[in-house]
Amino acid sequence: MSLSLPIPALKEKLEEELDTSKPWKVIVLNDPVNLMSYVVMVFRKIFGFNETKANKHMMEVHELGKSVLWTGEREQAESYVYQLQRWKLQTIMEVDD
């Protein structure tokens, strides 16, 4: 029995996701519930941003629906996603192409 994936695009996506050499982006998505002051506080706590930078990212999330908070190694990206989820912010990570 063949273990290869039948769809080339899917195989390519899986290989891309397993590639640890590529940088990963940590992306926070907009939600209608969390307060602006809360989101700014969380960004400052987790990433050590100053008020201006935290505000800029918060406004990106609010106006554009998402903001890339950090880019780098996969393991650290996972750690950031965990911390942001712990603060109830909807967060994903993607390979940075």
């Binding site: 939600d31 209608p32 519930v33 967060t91």
Partner: protein, 149 residues
């Protein structure tokens, strides 16, 4: 000890506290692994550890929030909380507002809710109570954030 007084009329507060308690009871039943999934689904061990750890963190936040909501002075408009419980309670309030939004304010769109762009007078009683709950929880959260500096 963190202490502050809410702007809300204590009669309104007493009317909505049972609604907030109802929403609080729903928190532990919510499938949070769907809203906050492990980003590395192909690693089953990591995904399982992720869900367990996040679940534990969420439980601790709910315990801190329970202390705040069951404060003796809250029905009279006063919030009291130990400083070391503030961060957890702030996170718990976010979770509770999500629950209120999903369960009591489902008929209001995200856009309407964000801009306050809807006619509250035309809403049914439970929706009105849900909206006041949503606002009061935001007020408590904002005050706690200010107190945390």
């Amino acid at each position: 000890m963190i202490e502050f007084q809410l702007q809300a009329d204590s009669r309104i507060l007493r009317a909505i506290l049972p609604k907030i308690e109802e929403a609080f009871a729903l928190m532990s039943k919510h499938p949070w692994h769907v809203t906050f999934p492990c980003p590395t689904v192909e690693d089953e061990d990591l995904a399982s550890a992720w869900d367990d750890s996040l679940g534990q963190d969420f439980s601790e936040d709910r315990i801190a929030l329970a202390k705040l909501l069951r404060g003796k002075k809250l029905p009279h408009g006063y919030v009291e909380l130990e400083e070391e419980a503030a961060e957890s309670a702030v996170r718990g309030l976010s979770e509770l507002r999500l629950i209120v939004r999903q369960n009591l304010l489902a008929e209001i769109t995200d856009g309407q809710l964000e801009r306050g762009n809807f006619d509250l007078e035309k809403c049914k009683g439970p929706v009105k109570l849900g909206y006041f709950s949503y606002l009061i929880l935001a007020e408590i959260q904002e005050n706690l954030i200010s107190c945390m500096g």
